[in-house]
Symmetry: C2
Subunit: 207 residues, 2 copies
DNA sequence: GTCTATAAATAGATAGAC
DNA sequence: GTCTATCTATTTATAGAC
């Protein structure tokens, strides 16, 4: 009952070279992002990624050599992430907390970066490489983005506490899917978390 | 509440055989806690736990049957966790934020509960059972402990945001070991995070 | 209670045909 | 570029001797 596989019903590139940039490599990467984001590094087998991409397992190795290397490619953080936070800085000082929360949630709504963020968050606790990438983002990138507005003796600590709060929010909302924060609107979260973050911009012991 | 029989140290049975409640079972559990806390569920093999306990692999199965069952035992959260947060409630309202932070960090300093908390936090992003335990603690237990002091229309959301902040702090300090929050003193953290949490107890739009 | 030995499944990775 | 077939290592788990 399976119809004859009709060997490649023509599509010859007579004479011409370059079968064109093949999309298989990109499809494998996309499938890997989905799988890693859903299950993390260990629980995702190369075979599963291959199935999700509709290709053979050995093709994954052909393109990315090792699983670890593929994971690093899947994890690659777009440059726009730190920029998005920095973009929340300009404006009135009283609204800083809210704008930072909205900028952060805006990244999670951006499908070109949110899979990588989910991979990072879901794997950081176990995988040392994901942990390093998250550390870099939560510390250095945040510090650079907020250097002008978080000042004072304890600025270093306060920047990381801002990162921690946003990390906790993301864990609750996107990883644990904890209610009611998982299905709350951006407005509702910004209205509550914004003022909390604001205390780091206006430290109570500032002269 | 399965309440492990916690081998009473003494309780001799004169003449009888019974080499007494053997400590091997407890040693395996302790080794499992250490390993799971360090590496998470997937990366911890039964063999590694057995080695850490100084016993054979098959003994682990003999006592705990399956790896998953052992993990659940290792994860078992002491009842005192919610109580510790509730214990921070009495006192002047202005100091609530700080007291909650100190209560939370006090739990992490308690060696009878911190391994379980680390297991939970490190595995929750990947392991559904650990995730469920963490959800239960971050939502229900927190809500019960703070019901009297977090009030108003958005109380449900604000309780979970408090949980999220504490979760983010624990991730940064104990899992990622992110500086400077990893080596900051309890006083320093309480001084900065306390006022941020305080905004949830005194919502700006309260009548 | 504690060990040896091993079953049974699955993992990542490679070789080579087409 | 894509597939089939397979190697090797490691996993959880069990059976059975002592």
């Amino acid at each position: 009952m399976t119809a004859e596989p009709v060997t490649a019903p023509d599509q010859r590139h007579a004479g011409g070279r370059r079968p064109g940039e093949n999309t298989t490599r990109a499809e494998i990467l996309a499938a890997a992002r989905t799988c890693f984001a859903e299950r993390g590094y260990d629980a995702t087998s190369v075979r599963r990624i291959a199935d999700a991409a509709g290709v053979d397992q050995s093709l994954v190795h052909h393109f990315y050599k090792t699983k670890e290397n593929l994971f690093l490619s899947a994890l690659e953080v777009p440059v726009k992430m730190p920029d998005a936070i920095a973009g929340a800085v300009p404006g009135d000082r009283a609204g800083l907390g809210e704008r930072v929360v909205r900028a952060h949630l805006g990244l999670w709504a951006d499908l070109s970066v949110s899979p990588q963020m989910l991979i990072m968050l879901r794997s950081a606790a176990i995988n040392s490489q994901a942990g390093e990438v998250l550390r870099e983002f939560a510390a250095e990138s945040m510090r650079a983005a907020l250097a002008d507005v978080v000042t004072g003796e304890t600025a270093g600590l306060r920047v990381v506490l801002i990162s921690s709060s946003l990390m906790g929010l993301a864990m609750a909302r996107f990883v644990l899917e904890l209610e009611p924060v998982a299905s709350a609107s951006v407005d509702e979260i910004a209205a509550e978390l914004g003022p909390a973050l604001q205390t780091y911009f206006d430290p109570p012991d500032e002269p």
